[in-house]
Symmetry: C2
Subunit: 300 residues, 2 copies
């Protein structure tokens, strides 16, 4: 099913993830620096074997327009910190009350609620420090564009807004409009911002920004549908999360509304549409094509 | 005691606060827009009659180097949103568990904990959107400098880090080093960043940035000492907060360590030092001089 047999996605991901993990290791405050408890929690939740999908998309977005990983690395790490911050806060007792994440106790279970709230806040702040730091490598105008994009994708018009509607909708009658709103805001917004940020930092033209924005939106939706499906049919040993929790909570999800088979088809259709937007990028977009397939075919 | 009889601080504050409140009203998302509950909470906590000290300092910092309020208004509002975000999270049951703020129920009492956590997060994100927006009025290089400064002052090397040490120190033996650390990070960092941001956006030279940075640091410390004093000796009808809560919680404060009189003297001494740094700015710094006095002489 993969479009290109010559492109080795595993090797690509392995190299990029190593780059990202090394950079995160350098950027995160040390556990020997005050306040140690906060830094321990920030590192515990960030360095926990995540897939690094969003930072890889920042890099792949840059590469699609002829840029390189090094020039976008601070912003790549920034979006991973924002993702981690959102997981820590979503897991809190007052929100999703999750105790397991990537096979380990969640941040508040490990360090207490106060530390978890503040560790999330500190990661969010660090993300914006990193975006500012990206101005060492690229013109400030591009950094400001990325700042606007990432801040908007994180806040009430993006991730946090989507999470709010998700919570409010629990236990209520599912409705296609609400499911679409939640997916688009809670998940797709930051995925879209990631790939577009990489492209902007690497000096993309407007048509390239527009095409990658569409790619990010479509794959972001597909990714969330795949995530909902894993909550129904996944193997907890591979996902590192409990299964069936969405249904138990009365979460509004795509499979709950349309069924497993129709959801699977919809995810694949979105990926096909996303890949079609990449046509003008030629070989430079090989990583983005392969990642699009991976986003719906993953097991965890 | 006021250095200049000709400068009318009340009128100055009245005009600047009106400007800030109008801008916040425009910038905050509407309560008729989804997710409404989040936007209600964001507005409830932001539009609650705060003194707007930090945004006024952004404007006064710009004016000290010959700039104008209009060119720094988005960033002025941004630091107020960061301040509000920190109050909402600090008030949460897992942290300070405060139920009253500015004479009204705190955000989580009014809207529930989940909404309060997410409203804080959304305000923090909105703050960075506003900083990006400031690039409409000033060069992007200045905006990136401000972004770096404000993000650092908010996170683990600033406000959030100070709050973490504050919580950890509750009920433990007070120690001058710890009190200094808490004041410098929890309060002074954002106050310093506010006045310096205004100056940078208005095109300050390096010696001006350095002098105002020192001013911000000194007045920030004085402000926190005054705040601790109000918690001992204040009138709850004027402060809008309960009195004696720091002592009841075993908080590490300046008066607890050095006594009320020595704390008062220290605050005034810091203000004198802060005002001395303003000498080269002449008349342009009249607002900053008057605000420095106000910060330790306030009743709420």
């Amino acid at each position: 099913m993969n479009a290109s047999l010559s492109f080795d996605l595993n090797q690509y991901l392995c190299e990029r993830v190593r780059l990202i993990d090394n950079a995160l290791e350098r950027y995160l405050p040390g556990e020997d620096v005050r306040p140690q408890s906060l830094h321990r929690a920030m590192r515990y939740s960030t360095m926990s074997g995540g897939k690094r999908l969003r930072p890889v998309l920042v890099i792949a977005g840059a590469e699609a327009v002829g840029g390189e990983a090094e020039m976008v690395l601070p912003t790549a790490c920034a979006v991973e910190l924002i993702h981690t911050f959102s997981l820590i806060h979503d897991d809190l007792p007052a929100i999703d009350n999750d105790t397991l994440r990537r096979g380990r106790p969640t941040c508040h279970v490990q360090f207490g609620e106060a530390v978890a709230i503040l560790a999330g806040d500190a990661l969010f702040a660090s993300a914006f420090e990193l975006i500012a730091r990206n101005a060492d490598a690229v013109p400030a105008e591009r950094v400001v564009q990325v700042l606007k994009l990432v801040a908007e994708a994180s806040g009430t018009r993006g991730m946090v807004g989507g999470q709010m509607v998700d919570i409010e909708s629990e236990g209520k009658e599912a409705d296609a409009d609400i499911v679409e709103y939640i997916h688009r805001h809670k998940t797709a917004a930051l995925i879209r911002a990631s790939v577009v940020s990489g492209a902007i930092l690497a000096g993309a033209e407007q048509w390239q920004v527009d095409a990658l924005s569409r790619y990010g939106e479509l794959t972001g939706l597909a990714f969330q549908i795949a995530d909902d499906l894993l909550n129904v049919t996944g193997d907890p040993r591979k996902t590192g999360k409990a299964v069936g929790t969405d249904a138990a909570r009365g979460k509004v999800t795509y499979p709950a509304l349309f069924g497993v088979e129709a959801s699977r088809q919809r995810a694949h259709q979105l990926v096909q549409e996303a890949i079609a937007t990449l046509h003008p990028f030629g070989e430079n977009a090989e990583p983005l094509r392969a990642i699009a397939y991976l986003m719906v075919e993953r097991e965890g």
